[in-house]
């Protein structure tokens, strides 16, 4: 599973990209977030305020209940500020 972090989430986690194999009971974005939070203090800090985090699965915006699998690309980032 490819995990990407952008903007201040990348700064808090410390890397922009990770290739991870979460345990089998991680089946949704929300469960993935809970598992990621346990990986390091930086991860825990990045996800400390869930209302500030947006997610995309395979480059489409997704909610916490979106299913995730081993071959998916999941990105986490703050609300966008382009334009």
């Amino acid at each position: 599973m490819k995990i990407l972090y952008f903007a201040w989430l990348r700064a808090k986690v410390g890397v922009g990209e990770e290739d991870l194999s979460p345990p089998g009971d991680v089946a949704t974005v929300g469960q993935l977030v809970e598992w990621l939070k346990s990986r390091s203090p930086g991860h825990a800090q990045a996800f400390a305020q869930p209302s500030l985090v947006r997610a995309a699965v395979n480059q489409e915006f997704s909610g916490l209940d979106q299913a995730v699998g081993a071959h998916d690309e999941i990105a986490f980032f703050p609300p966008v500020t382009g334009g």
């Binding site: 952008f6 995309a56 480059q59 990105a75 980032f77 703050p78 500020t81 382009g82 334009g83």
Partner: protein
């Protein structure tokens, strides 16, 4: 249709001329150019999510085409380090009539601001900070929900 995500500057006049060159059926072309605001000496760096950015911009364009009879759409969005006065984004729309061109152009920039994965990192006097999303941008985008 064209979606371009690039580091380099662009020439709005040249881009508009290219959209309409040799055409006799386009009655209207509207454009929006977004610029960096700020104090002299300040700067910002625009980060994006390569791949998702192009995908989301294409989806926004498709939505505009579903709503209005537009002929062509051009979106150019820059990334990288920019300073006050620099161009950030160009949205241009051609149509046979002005009503569709005006509406689609405003829709495109409003939706782009809340759906295209770009983030602004500002250099301020007390260090760098990530720009927070504005409720006003969200409200403007929501006006277009049907």
């Amino acid at each position: 249709m064209a979606i371009q995500v690039q580091r380099d500057d662009f020439d709005p006049g040249g881009e508009i001329a290219r959209l309409t060159a040799g055409r006799t059926d386009i009655g209207a072309v509207t454009s929006f150019v977004g610029l960096v605001r700020g104090d002299e000496g300040s700067a910002m760096t625009l980060e994006h999510y390569p791949g998702m950015t192009e995908r989301q911009l294409a989806a926004i364009e498709t939505e505009a085409r579903n709503r209005w009879p537009v002929d062509d759409v051009l979106v150019i969005h820059r990334y990288g380090r920019l300073t006050p006065g620099d161009r950030i984004v160009l949205v241009a729309v051609t149509s046979s009539h002005r009503a569709a061109a005006f509406a689609a152009c405003e829709f495109l920039i409003d939706w782009l601001k809340t759906r295209a994965p770009f983030w602004k990192l500002e250099d301020g006097p007390d260090g760098q900070h990530w720009v927070e999303a504005k409720d006003d941008d969200e409200n403007r985008a929501e006006r277009w929900q049907t």
